[in-house]
């Protein structure tokens, strides 16, 4: 690992790659500060743009966009009470009151430092855990892969929103979309209706742009943002006091641990883990009554959890090719576009490239810390620009980027169609995440199921006879039971409408 990581740092720190990371951090933060647009939207809109770069530069830039968008969401949550994305909603609760008390600079600095610490520790753990875990996937045959994919999809459908049934329908829709085109094993056309464009199926890039980019922008354009930047920041480079740092150390640690551990599980996106971290912090606090009125721990812990979750999700992605959240599904799509298949071969055949990407996470994270603290005032003002101005610009970039990925006009129509679908899903409160995960995992899901049954002569008993697949299916069953139990409890308690939801 050490030699690989050192080589990775040597590549990631080359002036050209640092330049791409810098650009990615800026653009990612720029999109992240816009209400509703989080890492998934930022990555989906910018993925086609990065396709014009060499592979290492493209993935370095994607990583920086990912980090930048994470940072961006919290900045506006604190300064103007507008969460850039669902995972920053918890930050608003204490961040905005802190800003109103004139402690906005301190809150931003704590967020930046906490995020940096959480992300750095998580990246180190990623580099340590992912390679041996990837070797574990050598034990996986088609039945084990099918069981893993089924368990992941079930967990995602169950926990990605307040209603498991809606999540299941969205996941099934995603799986169905992958059957459009020639089937992956025999080349039999399905759902093509005689169209040549449909023969190759839906390209993942325009679908992602439509669902996450265009869909969210259309909804955001409905309301004109009237956000107010509360006063000036006292210092151009915000720094917390020693007392604030001391008060935040334990919450940052707890938030990092919660975010990292839960982030390994499918469906546990940042918007879920940040609320759990916030709740834990309030419960362990000696002054729980101060939460919601400007408690620095209420900002430090969720933001640490947010960044730790974002990184720990990379472990199942790199080891097994299982994305736990939509943003990572887009990262998986990017890896596949460059012919990189996650798993043990990623660390063996593409070791230099993989360690460069991991090192680029460190670099992107550090750039975000150094760059974003002095720029917080600028980001807050950008977030206050009305959507009627920003929206058309983002939409045209999305359309043009979709066209540019394959020079295909059909993809532009796909963006519009899926944009409309994404918009409608948001309006009726359905989670788009299971749909996109179904779409990303669908081909592997079908192949592994068909190969498993070919191995067993059509007997489903193969999944129960092999210990690993049986264990994974048991995990899936527990996930179903857990989701049903949580849904039942929620019904019993009549959860408030602002309960965590992630898009």
């Amino acid at each position: 690992m050490d030699a690989g990581l050192l080589q990775g740092f040597a590549n990631a720190l080359s002036p050209v790659n640092v330049g791409w990371a810098l650009l990615g951090s800026l653009v990612g933060t720029l999109i992240g500060v816009l209400p509703g647009l989080g890492p998934a939207s930022a990555l989906s809109i910018l993925l086609p743009v990065t396709l014009h770069l060499p592979p290492d530069a493209a993935l370095i830039m994607m990583m920086a966009i990912y980090h930048g968008a994470q940072y961006g969401g919290s900045t506006t949550a604190i300064l103007i009470n507008v969460p850039g994305e669902a995972s920053s909603v918890a930050t608003c609760l204490d961040g905005y009151p802190l800003a109103r008390q004139g402690r906005g600079a301190s809150a931003l600095a704590i967020v930046a430092i906490g995020s940096f610490v959480a992300a750095t520790a998580s990246i180190a753990l990623l580099g340590w855990i992912a390679p041996p875990l990837a070797n574990l996937s050598l034990l996986f045959g088609p039945p084990e892969y099918f069981a893993l994919l089924l368990a992941s999809l079930v967990a995602l459908a169950g926990f990605s929103g307040p209603s498991p049934v809606r999540g299941a329908l969205a996941a099934l829709l995603g799986l169905l979309l992958t059957t459009v085109g020639l089937d992956p094993l025999d080349g039999i056309p399905r759902f093509t209706f005689g169209s040549m464009n449909l023969m190759t199926g839906f390209d993942i890039v325009p679908v992602l742009i439509g669902l996450f980019g265009v869909g969210e922008v259309l909804r955001s354009m409905e309301s004109d943002l009237k956000a107010v930047f509360v006063g000036r920041l006292a210092r151009w480079f915000p720094m917390p006091s020693r007392a604030e740092l001391a008060a935040s150390a334990a919450p940052i640690t707890r938030g990092s641990v919660i975010g990292f551990v839960l982030g390994l599980l499918p469906g546990m996106g940042s918007s879920v883990t940040t609320w759990i971290a916030y709740d834990v912090e309030r419960r362990v606090s000696r002054t729980p009554e101060r939460f919601g009125h400007g408690e620095i721990a209420g900002v430090a812990s969720p933001e640490a959890a947010n960044n730790a979750t974002a990184i720990s999700g990379m472990i199942p992605l790199m080891a097994f090719g299982i994305p736990t959240v939509p943003a990572l599904a887009i990262m998986l799509a990017a890896l596949q576009i460059y012919g990189l298949q996650p798993g043990p071969l990623l660390f063996e055949q593409h070791a230099a490239f993989t360690w460069t990407v991991i090192a680029a996470m460190f670099v992107g994270n550090a750039i975000c810390l150094v760059l974003n603290l002095p720029l917080v005032g600028l980001w807050a003002r950008i977030a206050s620009v009305p959507y009627r101005l920003l929206g058309p610009l983002i939409l045209i970039v999305a359309l043009v980027a979709a066209y540019g990925a394959r020079n295909s006009l059909f993809d532009v129509w796909v963006v519009i169609a899926f944009g409309l679908l994404g918009y409608l899903l948001r309006k009726i409160g359905w989670p788009p995440a299971p749909l996109i995960l179904g779409l990303v995992l669908g081909p592997m899901f079908e192949s592994s199921l068909r190969q498993s049954l070919a191995m067993s002569g059509g007997s489903l008993a193969i999944f129960a006879q092999r210990p690993l697949s049986a264990g994974l299916l048991a995990v899936g069953a527990v996930a179903i039971a857990g989701a049903a139990w949580f849904a039942h409890r929620r019904r019993a308690r009549r959860a408030p409408p602002d309960a965590p939801d992630w898009a």
Partner: protein, 161 residues
């Protein structure tokens, strides 16, 4: 009553999913004929997988429909349905216009037309301001995508060289 409206929406969705499930099963039947014609023999062929998804869709839709009939949307834990707004209609129509214009008017003109339409139809901008902003942003995007990134667009379409 918002609750009645939400229930109607959920039932309409259930109907839509049920119809989709039937369509999927019909397609599975068609694919099965294609598989038979090709002489493929598999434990789970391309048609079976589609049929499996179709039946799963119908089963989950049934659970969804029963839940929609039995209890309120709020009790089911789902967030409230947001009322539809007219505002996204202009950008949506402009995007469709962009897609229609792109092959023959080219990237630059289609982009300008899209931006001018969205900004000018927003009544808060004077037409001159909207056109000027559309022109400036188009120039910026032309510089980024055509000049810097070299995306092979039909730059000026049939009007160009």
């Amino acid at each position: 009553m918002p609750e009645d409206r939400a229930r109607r929406v959920d039932l309409a969705l259930a109907t839509g999913f049920a119809l989709l499930g039937v369509l999927v099963l019909l397609e599975a039947r068609r694919v099965r004929e294609a598989v038979a014609d090709s002489g493929l023999v598999e434990e789970l062929d391309p048609a079976d997988f589609v049929a499996l998804l179709g039946w799963a869709l119908l089963a989950v839709t049934a659970v969804f429909a029963i839940a929609a009939l039995r209890r309120s949307r709020e009790a089911d834990g789902a967030p409230p349905i947001e009322p539809l707004s007219r505002r996204p209609l202009v950008p949506l129509a402009s995007m469709l216009g962009f897609a229609a214009l792109l092959p023959w008017a080219g990237f630059t003109l289609a982009t300008f037309a899209f931006l001018a339409a969205v900004l000018a139809l927003d009544s808060r901008y004077r037409p001159a301001v909207a056109l000027a902003a559309a022109g400036a942003i188009t120039a910026l995007l032309h510089g980024l995508f055509v000049v810097a990134l070299g995306v092979p667009f039909p730059v000026l379409g049939r009007f160009g060289i």
